[in-house]
Structure formats: structure tokens, C-alpha cells
């Protein structure tokens, strides 16, 4: 039981628990906060892998941008109440069954799969520093990088399109 392993288990437990609580808690605000926690724990995993840049970006993007967006929306809609009606019992039961089923199925296939015990490759090369990532991102992955901008542009136009009021509209 190395400290790293303990850390892993600790983080993993947090991740799963907060993820679960996100779903379970009735108040959307609580959900959001649990989700933030979950994201932080995932960032912890990243750090565990020594992927600092990624961890930071992750926190910035998810906790900083996406979660703020979520919270903003929740507030906008005034949803910070525990007024959600539960789904019918049968549906919830179904969801739980499916959840268990899927977990079992996926876990089973990965248990069955030939897992690699023993030594993992250690190239010793630097593969996750900002420098390396930047090089790869702007050389090999230039096209997708640019294309991602198209993605964001499209999303932006889309959001504008969805939110823009027209003169002809009555509201």
C-alpha cells in the first residue's frame, strides 16, 4: 500500500462519492457544488499523473467556466429549491437496475480483459509538460486545434441564434 495508492483510493472515493451525490442531492445548487468537488478530485488525479497543465486547465475550464455557467443558469431559473418531483418509482428502479447492470457488464469485461500486470513502460521522456503539449498541439494537431475553433464558433453562433430576439417576435 504505497502512499500513491492510498492517495488514489482516497481521490477515487471522493470522485465517486461526489459524483454520486451530484446526482442524488435534490437541490441543484448542492449538485453543482458536489460536481465542482468531483472535478477537483479529478484534477487531483491529473496531478497524480503529474499532468499539471492539464489539471489546471481542467479546473479553469470545468470549475471555472462550465460550472459557473451551470450555477448561473440555475440561479437564472431560480431552481435552487428542492422542488423536483421524483421520477416514478418504476423508472427510478429501472435506472438503478440499468446502472448496476451496466457497471457489472463493463467491469466484467475489463476484468476479463488481459490486464497488464508488472512493469509499465517508462520512456523517461517528457510527454506532459506544457512545452511538449504545446508543440504537439500546434504542430501535429494544428488542424484539429483550428477546427476546435470552428466548433466553438459554431457553438457561439448557435447560442446567439437561440437567444437572439427578433423584431418580429411578439414577446
Amino acid at each position: 500500500m504505497s502512499p500513491i495508492l492510498i492517495t488514489f483510493y482516497f481521490l477515487a472515493a471522493i470522485t465517486l462519492a461526489t459524483a454520486f451525490l451530484t446526482i442524488y442531492s435534490k437541490n441543484p445548487i448542492h449538485s453543482a457544488i458536489y460536481l465542482v468537488l468531483c472535478f477537483f478530485s479529478i484534477a487531483g488525479h491529473y496531478l497524480l499523473f503529474n499532468a499539471q497543465f492539464l489539471a489546471i486547465v481542467h479546473i479553469i475550464v470545468y470549475s471555472g467556466a462550465i460550472m459557473v455557467l451551470f450555477l448561473f443558469t440555475i440561479m437564472l431559473m431560480n431552481l435552487n429549491k428542492e422542488n423536483e418531483v421524483h421520477k416514478p418509482r418504476i423508472t427510478r428502479l429501472g435506472a438503478i437496475v440499468v446502472f448496476i447492470l451496466m457497471s457489472i457488464v463493463l467491469v466484467t469485461i475489463f476484468i476479463n480483459s488481459k490486464t497488464i500486470m508488472g512493469e509499465y513502460d517508462t520512456s523517461g521522456e517528457d510527454f506532459q509538460s506544457i512545452k511538449t503539449l504545446g508543440k504537439i498541439l500546434l504542430n501535429e494537431y494544428m488542424v484539429p486545434f483550428e477546427f476546435a475553433s470552428i466548433l466553438l464558433l459554431a457553438a457561439m453562433i448557435g447560442v446567439v441564434l437561440l437567444s437572439k430576439k427578433e423584431k418580429t417576435e411578439k414577446k
Binding site: 469485461i109 475489463f110 476479463n112 480483459s113 488481459k114 497488464i116 501535429e140 494537431y141 494544428m142 488542424v143 484539429p144 477546427f147 476546435a148 470552428i150 466548433l151 464558433l153 459554431a154 457553438a155 453562433i157 448557435g158 447560442v159 446567439v160 441564434l161 437561440l162 437567444s163 437572439k164 427578433e166 423584431k167 418580429t168 417576435e169 414577446k171
Partner: protein
């Protein structure tokens, strides 16, 4: 690569047009631009594709992608041409709509030209996000909202699945590059993650092409979306997803394992059957065509079964299907643009009040039903022929039975047009609908008369 760049530039131009108040010119210019891009795309045949090797690790320009790109561009031309009138009430947004369509095309091009899974993923997301937006774009219409919401929820769920699949493939091989993955995939000792990843990715794609049992979104979304979006989804998006699925399978692994073929067979049968049987009882034309699209997805999946040889057939089928779809949607939009719904009753008496549109719609429905001389017939026939060669006679028989069922609902519409009396006077229809409908169906018939035109492209 040039194609992608020019398309994106065109998209940006559309946005700029808004700024410079060129709305009137927007649609014609975009159409012309797309035609020019089509020229570029077709021109790529003449020159050696390998010339474009700068980004070969991301975008592969080969016959397959070229052919499908050209098809997508053609479809987009039609869709954009229809948009001009469709969005005439929304002048302030028209450039956004057009731009999104063009970006959607860019995503589509990325999807069939990818040689790196990153491009694939981004492409599919560009396409999907554009479609989510378009589906929900009638912002005051509850149905449109609902459609957008449903599509978004299910679509992003599917994206998650696809991403998971990509991840596992990466885990198994350590590459995103298609060529490398293919090399490794045929080698021994590849972890089981790889097939799992493949399966998850394919499931995600099956969702995109709306194959059963991942098809549930399609009818609801098709019905709720604005008609032009439905047209886009049922023609362009479906064709793109199908081509991508084919490319994924043929690009990532050398051949399918028999059990997986079994899965495809079952999914194909399910899609055909569910699609056709459900379509029988639909009153809403768009919903009916959604189910029809599901069944066509089932047919197209047959192409997967003879993976190494079916590219031409698939191209032909998709072209035939999409052109018929465009033609029928041009008519559907033209007929229902003022009525606010798309019930079959709108088509009553169309044979008398507007014979040309009725004829086009009839022709396109016949094509979808697979009646000769329309290209839909050859498409189905070649598909069947390939499937028989691959040894799936049973599947073909199911396909044939489904073709028979499909006639039932296609003809329901035809019957409405020719045997029922029109309830109300139909206002005049702008010429652009005729233009699009007729040229699409003419293309369709031309493909029917000279199937070699398309068939030989990929052989």
C-alpha cells in the same frame, strides 16, 4: 484540405455578410461558393491526392472522402437554396443560419476525411452541435425546443459513448492516427480494450444514423424541428454518419469478426422492421420520414457487411436516398410552409392543385420505396446483391419484406395527393422550391439511368 478550408472560409464569409448587410446576396453567393467548392472537390480527382500531404495525418484526401464530400456539398447546396425562402421571416438571423449550415458541412467533411480520431471527434461534434442548434432554432415553438432538448440530451450522451470508445482505442493502441491503429489492430496481442472501444464508437455512430434500438430520438426530433432542419438531419446528417461509420469500420480494422457482423445484422433487421412498421401509422409526414429514415439506416447497414467492396454501393445508396429526401422535403416544405403542421392532410389534392410538386414527391417516394428506374431501386438492388455475395441471404429476404411494408406508407402519401380532395386553396409556391425539387429528382433519376456514374467513382 482545400475543401475544408474553403468551406470554413465560406462560413466566415456568411458571418461577415451580416456585418456588411449583404443579406439579400447571402444565399446566392453561398450557393455559388458551394458550387465552386464542389468544383474544387471534383477537381481533386484529376490531380494526385497525395499532393495534399501537409496535413495528411489529420485529413486524408482520397477517393472515398472526395466522393462523399462532393455529395455533401451537393446536398448542402440544395439545403442552403431552400433556406433562403424558409428563413425569410427571420432576416436578422439568416446569416447565422446559413453560416451554421456551412459549418455543419465543414464538420461533415471532417468526419469523412479524418485520418486522426481527433478530427473525427471534432467533426462529429461540429455537426451535432450545429444540428442541436438548428433543431431548437424556432425558439418560441415548444416543439422545436423539445426537439432540440431531446436531441441534445441524447446526442451528447452518445458523444460520451463515442468518446469513451475513442479513449479505449487509444488505450489499446496508443494512437489516434487511423493508419497506425489499423496496423496495430491486425497484429496479435492487442488488448480487448480495442474491440470494446470500437464497439462503443460504433454504437455512438449507430445512434447518429438512428439505427434501432438507438433510434428513439429520430422521430421526435424530426417532427419537432423546423422542416429545413429535418431535411438536413434526414439527408445530410444521416448520410454523413453512415459514411463515417463505414469509414471508421473500414479504416480502423481490416475485417469484422463474425459475431460483430451478427450484431450488425440484428441491428439492421431491427432498424428496417421498426422503422417501416412504425412509419405505417404516422400522420405527420416528417415523423413518417423519420421512421422511413430509420429503416433506410437499416438498409445501409447492410453495406457494412461487405466492408471491403461496398463503398461504391454505399455512396450510391446514400446519394439516391439523400437526393430523394431533398426532393421530398423541398415539396413538403413548399406545401406545409403556411400550415404550421406537417400532417398528411396538407397533401390532399396536391395532384390536382400542383401536379408538378405532386409528381416530384411521388417520384421521390417511389425512389425511397425502391421502384425502378429511380435510383433508389438500384441502390437497394446493389445492396442486396452485395449482401447476397457476402452470404446474408436471410438479411436480404428481411430487407425485401421490409421494402414491401415500406410501400404501404409511402403510398399513403401518394394516395392522399391523388385521391383526396384539397381542403383549402394552396398559395403559390416560390420558384426555388420547384428548382430544388426538380433538380434533386432529376439527379436522382439520372443516377438511376446511369448508375455507373457513381458506382465507378470508388472502384
Amino acid at each position: 484540405m482545400q475543401v475544408l478550408i474553403t468551406i470554413v472560409s465560406l462560413g466566415v464569409f456568411c458571418l461577415l455578410a451580416e456585418i456588411f448587410n449583404l443579406r439579400k446576396l447571402l444565399v446566392p453567393v453561398t450557393v455559388i461558393g458551394l458550387l465552386a467548392i464542389l468544383g474544387i472537390s471534383l477537381n481533386l480527382w484529376a490531380i494526385d491526392p497525395s499532393i495534399d500531404s501537409n496535413y495528411a495525418s489529420m485529413i486524408a484526401v482520397d477517393k472515398f472522402s472526395n466522393a462523399f464530400n462532393s455529395l455533401f456539398i451537393v446536398l448542402t447546396i440544395f439545403l442552403v437554396a431552400l433556406s433562403g425562402d424558409f428563413y425569410k421571416e427571420h432576416q436578422t438571423k439568416i446569416s447565422d443560419f446559413i453560416a451554421i449550415k456551412v459549418f455543419l458541412l465543414a464538420g461533415a467533411v471532417a468526419m469523412v476525411s479524418f485520418s486522426n480520431l481527433a478530427m473525427f471527434f471534432l467533426g462529429i461534434e461540429v455537426l451535432s452541435i450545429s444540428l442541436y442548434v438548428l433543431a431548437a432554432s424556432k425558439r418560441l415553438d415548444i416543439k422545436s425546443n423539445e426537439a432540440g432538448m431531446k436531441y441534445f440530451l441524447l446526442g451528447s450522451f452518445a458523444s460520451g459513448i463515442i468518446l469513451f470508445g475513442i479513449c479505449l482505442i487509444y488505450g489499446a493502441t496508443g494512437y489516434f492516427n487511423v493508419a497506425e491503429i489499423k496496423d496495430l489492430s491486425s497484429g496479435a496481442g492487442i488488448p480487448v480494450w480495442f474491440p470494446i472501444g470500437m464497439v462503443l464508437m460504433i454504437i455512438g455512430m449507430l445512434f447518429k444514423i438512428a439505427a434501432a434500438p438507438f433510434h428513439f430520438w429520430a422521430p421526435d426530433v424530426y417532427e419537432g424541428s423546423p422542416s429545413i432542419t429535418t431535411a438536413t438531419m434526414s439527408t445530410l446528417a444521416k448520410v454523413v454518419a453512415m459514411a463515417t461509420l463505414y469509414k471508421l469500420l473500414s479504416g480502423l480494422s481490416s475485417e469484422l469478426i463474425p459475431t460483430f457482423e451478427m450484431v450488425i445484422v440484428v441491428v439492421s433487421i431491427l432498424s428496417m422492421t421498426i422503422g417501416n412498421i412504425m412509419a405505417l401509422r404516422q400522420d405527420n409526414v416528417k415523423r413518417m420520414l423519420a421512421f422511413s429514415g430509420i429503416s433506410h439506416a437499416g438498409f445501409m447497414l447492410m453495406a457494412i457487411l461487405s466492408l471491403s467492396t461496398a463503398a461504391g454501393t454505399l455512396l450510391y445508396y446514400t446519394a439516391a436516398y439523400a437526393l430523394a429526401g431533398i426532393a421530398s422535403f423541398a415539396v413538403i416544405i413548399a406545401v406545409t410552409r403556411d400550415s404550421g403542421n406537417e400532417l398528411t392532410e396538407n397533401f390532399n389534392g396536391l395532384g390536382k392543385s400542383n401536379p408538378l410538386l405532386a409528381a416530384v414527391l411521388t417520384a421521390s417516394l417511389l425512389s425511397m420505396a425502391g421502384i425502378p428506374i429511380f435510383s433508389g431501386f438500384f441502390a437497394k438492388f446493389m445492396l442486396f446483391s452485395d449482401a447476397i455475395k457476402a452470404g446474408y441471404l436471410f438479411l436480404v429476404i428481411v430487407g425485401v419484406i421490409n421494402s414491401i411494408i415500406s410501400v404501404g406508407y409511402y403510398f399513403k402519401l401518394i394516395l392522399a395527393m391523388y385521391t383526396k380532395e384539397a381542403s383549402a386553396e394552396k398559395p403559390a409556391v416560390p420558384a426555388v422550391y420547384y428548382l430544388v425539387a426538380v433538380s434533386a429528382i432529376v439527379l436522382n433519376i439520372a443516377l438511376g439511368l446511369y448508375p455507373s456514374l457513381v458506382m465507378n467513382l470508388l472502384n
